[in-house]
């Protein structure tokens, strides 16, 4: 029989998402097509057969007519990513994306001969350790639980190098302690940091919305939440403003944006909240930053001081002899640049080797490391190779615990504050996640993905969207396209973030009250139980079932 099909042609059925379209509901308004940033839809005509009778006595006959329809484009380049924007804008519920379980997309999308790149999050490890841990130790008789509404709670965490009591330059004068010497700066901040997402990775509006939320939380609600700039600098005006004190400036291996920061230093009226040296990222450990040329719009070129091109940060900081020396040099120079008034911390990807790194830093005699940020596999990223996103990385929960226990073994817990991130708050349960991490030994947590989800991102861990690298973000969160950015209502987005954090703050108290604590239970692992024996054993907490 003659072949009437070329099986190597791609059809809708080969793709992850199929567009379900109801011709009878569609009024051909065209909104879906103009909304789809991925150009996955097109207008086509189809020939249809109808049986009609237009005489008084029925005399059915077949007629043919040609009608306009909306069709999915079945190519890898213009594939539907399931973002659902078409469904959102359709006034007649005529169209929606449907997940295709028979997809072959992962076999077909190498057609350009290069590895798949995408943004978003890992799509292969969605089980969550934190959900298998419960706050199981409830105050009842010998120690009363507190009242979340009535008692005051001291919910602050240190950011900066904490000296041991024997290292403090204290002298006793007239039965009073006096400080005689210099001490590294430590700031007490809210235990949840808005994680490092750059302008560039984020749209200007999204970034600004997070800035606004940060300012409101601080100024109006007295919640000292800090936001990290991400690599690539930030607007000069912000650096010169008083709001700089809420910002943690990041330097990563590409050093993008630092020339502007350094130039702006003489005009700074406030010190930044801290400096974060990024060594690695949990979502794509061992892979440097990646900002595709599509997103390097004019303003990004200006902020970063670069021409339009793919911006690749090297996988690590290049040192003359060794990475340790290069990182140490960075620490020293940043400490010195701000005259030892601004804490300098480090962020590394969680890995089997992170405890050695932490042990090393704890032993550092110069007291230059003001924080250890451990980033786990379940974090998100603006762009990475899919193979890195899905297959490399280390869960953060046990790593934070390991690092804490390592510090306990040295008797140095708390000296370099431990912050954990990477999937914290992933399912919207930020307060519970942060609380459990703190009980396991973290001083606080940092979080990014939940923020962009609150801003409007519709991506998820099951392969929905995750096109943050393309510059086509349908929600205006991670694109630099002027028109797409308009989709994001900046005030609404900031308000959503603020409201979320306010509710997190109350939920936090709701967790502290039953264990009877009014200050953060850092390392109170006795407050937790796990319903999974393996997790309980690994984390050294009781098993319960």
């Amino acid at each position: 029989m003659e072949a009437n099909i070329k099986i190597n042609d791609i059809t809708e059925n080969d793709l992850n998402w199929k567009v379900e379209y109801d011709n009878t509901r569609c009024t051909r308004c065209g909104r879906c097509i103009s909304t789809c940033t991925f150009h996955a839809l097109e207008m086509k005509v189809e020939r249809r057969a109808y049986t009609v009778s237009d005489t008084k006595v029925p005399a059915p006959k077949r007629v043919f007519s040609t009608i306009p329809v909306v069709k999915q484009i079945a190519t890898i380049k213009q594939k539907c990513v399931g973002c659902g924007m078409c469904e959102k804008v359709c006034p007649n519920q005529a169209i929606k994306p449907v997940r295709n379980i028979d997809t072959r997309e992962n076999l077909l999308n190498h057609e350009l001969g290069s590895p798949i790149k995408r943004g978003g999050r890992t799509n292969l490890s969605i089980e969550r350790t934190l959900d298998r841990i419960k706050v199981g130790r409830i105050s009842q008789m010998t120690d009363p639980s507190l009242d979340a509404q009535r008692h005051t709670f001291d919910m602050l965490s240190p950011f900066g190098r904490v000296l041991g009591p024997e290292e403090l330059p204290f002298k006793i004068e007239n039965d009073e302690l006096k400080i005689k010497g210099s001490i590294p700066p430590v700031h007490w901040i809210y235990p949840i940091i808005f994680a490092d997402m750059s302008i560039g990775a984020l749209s200007t509006r999204a970034w600004e919305a997070i800035c606004i939320a940060t300012a409101i939380l601080n100024e109006k609600y007295n919640m000292p939440v800090r936001m990290c700039s991400g690599e690539g600098g930030m607007p000069i005006k912000l650096m010169q403003s008083k709001y700089l004190k809420y910002m943690i400036l990041q330097i990563a291996s590409g050093h993008f944006g630092w020339n502007r920061i350094i130039k702006a230093m003489p005009q700074m009226t406030e010190d930044p909240a801290g400096i974060l040296i990024k060594i690695g990222q949990g979502a794509k450990p061992g892979d440097g930053g990646l900002l595709m040329a599509a997103k390097v719009a004019r303003h990004i070129q200006e902020i970063r001081g670069v021409p339009r091109s793919d911006l690749l940060s090297p996988p690590n900081h290049q040192g003359l002899y060794s990475i340790e020396e290069s990182v140490q040099k960075m620490f020293l120079s940043f400490n010195a640049a701000f005259q030892f008034r601004v804490p300098v911390a480090i962020k590394v990807a969680a890995s089997s080797s992170s405890v050695s790194v932490y042990n090393n830093l704890l032993r550092d005699p110069y007291h230059i490391v003001g924080g250890f940020f451990l980033d786990g596999i379940q974090g998100g990223t603006g762009a990475a190779h899919e193979v890195s996103l899905d297959h490399t990385g280390h869960p953060v929960v046990s790593k934070v615990r390991d690092a804490y226990i390592a510090a306990v073994n040295q008797g140095k817990q708390g000296r370099i504050p431990l912050w954990g991130g990477g999937g914290v708050g992933l399912t919207g349960t930020m307060a519970a996640d942060a609380f459990k991490m703190i009980c396991l030994g973290a001083n606080g947590v940092f979080t990014g993905k939940i923020l962009i989800q609150l801003l409007g991102c519709i991506g998820n861990e099951n392969g929905r969207c995750n096109q943050c690298n393309t510059g086509l973000c349908p929600t205006g969160v991670t694109t630099q396209d002027y028109r797409l950015v308009q989709r994001l209502d900046i005030d609404k987005a900031a308000e959503t973030l603020v409201n979320y954090m306010l509710s997190v703050d109350t939920e936090f108290r709701k967790l502290m009250a039953p264990i009877g604590n009014s200050s953060l239970p850092v390392g109170r692992s006795d407050a937790l139980v796990s319903v999974d024996k393996g997790i309980a054993d690994k984390l050294q907490i009781p098993y319960a079932c």
Binding site: P144, I172, L177, I183, G516, G523, S525
Partner: protein, 370 residues
């Protein structure tokens, strides 16, 4: 909740006073234990004030282990031994040991001319080693080994224990100027002798009630700080170790104890004239904070008596006094028994932001944390 108390007197007094202080506070007690520490001893111990006194209880085998060990350590000369006037009875409701020892030793020749610090070291090391040795075969318990300090600890009905040791009947033999006592021991954990407060370490004595909810944090931090911070049979031991650490090891003035265990909330630190120091303490000793409901009563090596409460004042405590005696205890009914004629309007109910300190001259001072 444990009932705890401490009496300080200008004149030496008999431990029966401490038993009477506790008797009315017994309501609801579960007979889980009793412990008493006496400091600044008089009566039969008065001549030996400078010499270390070992308080222990053991099996018959333990007795032998102890005496061999002490010989080996150079404590060859037992100067004096108190043999309590035990009152034997058909049935006592407590876990009686074969033997109770209260022995005063001479220092070993080698250390006689040593510094105070060296002597302190050797006493501590001896007690710790002895404890370890006895633990191996569960043949005994050693509670204190220090000059001018006597300890009794037992599991069971406190009244019976008192009776067996003949502590209810006043006499002129066993007297002290400071006696700290506890009825009922920490019942959250296994009932063991070491879990009964008062605890003792190098001249510091302390008892507490309530629950130390930061026990795990405290313990994980303390166990690397000092060889003497061991056991942790009771979460209240952490308070003693913190006291010892900051006063004895770091040599910080005692006033900072309150700031370490119950730091001011950040908002109040911000307003405090000493804010820089307080921030640093809070940062540096975050793992020594206590955050549960607790009252702590203690004696410093110089016998200064004090009490502090948790930061929410979730446990009772009261200080009462007449011209010759000051007592700090959990409930006022105890005070009414031993100090019925005191001026009750002068009773002090310490608040959550103060340390009440009683000097050896019986001056009651209220140190404000803010």
């Amino acid at each position: 909740m444990c009932r705890i108390g401490c009496i300080k007197s200008i004149e030496p007094f008999h431990p029966s006073k401490a038993l009477y202080l506790m008797l009315p506070q017994q309501e609801g007690h579960d007979n889980s234990g009793f412990a008493i520490v006496m400091k600044d001893l008089y009566g039969i111990f008065e001549p030996y004030k400078e010499l270390p006194l070992l308080s222990f209880s053991c099996t018959n085998k333990g007795k032998e282990i102890i005496s061999n060990f002490m010989l080996k350590k150079g404590f060859s000369k037992k100067i004096f031994t108190w043999e309590p006037d035990f009152v034997e009875k058909e049935h006592y409701d407590f876990a009686k040991m074969d033997f109770y020892g209260f022995d005063v030793f001479n220092y070993p020749e080698s250390i006689l001319k040593g510094s105070v610090k060296e002597k302190e070291e050797i006493l501590l090391n001896t007690r710790l080693e002895l404890r370890k040795l006895l633990e191996k075969t569960a043949d005994g318990y050693v509670f204190s080994f220090w000059p001018d300090t006597l300890t009794i600890k037992e599991i069971g009905n406190p009244n019976d224990i008192g009776e067996y040791f003949n502590l209810w009947k006043e006499n002129k033999d066993i007297l002290a100027k400071n006696i700290m006592i506890q009825y009922r021991q920490n019942t959250n954990y296994e009932i063991v002798r070491y879990a009964a407060h008062p605890f003792f370490l190098q001249g510091y004595t302390l008892c507490a009630n309530g629950e130390n909810t930061f026990y795990v944090k405290n313990k994980e931090y303390q166990q690397s700080l000092h060889k003497g911070y061991i056991g942790f049979e009771s979460d209240s031991q952490c308070f003693l170790y913190t006291l010892h650490y900051l006063h004895h090891e770091l040599k910080w003035p005692f006033a900072y104890y309150k700031h370490v265990i119950t730091p001011l909330p950040f908002e109040e630190i911000e307003e405090h004239p000493d804010k820089q120091i307080l921030y640093k303490i809070r940062e540096s000793l975050a793992h020594l904070e206590i955050n549960g409901p607790n009252t702590v009563i203690g004696l410093l090596p110089d016998n200064t008596m004090f009490t502090v409460c948790d930061s929410k004042k979730l446990r009772p405590v009261v200080v009462g006094a007449d011209n010759k005696i000051v007592a700090i205890t959990s409930e006022v009914n105890g005070l009414n028994v031993i100090l019925p004629d005191r001026d009750k309007t002068k009773d002090v109910y310490p608040n959550e932001r103060e340390t009440v300190v009683v000097t050896n001259e019986l001056r009651i001072e209220r140190w404000k944390q803010i």
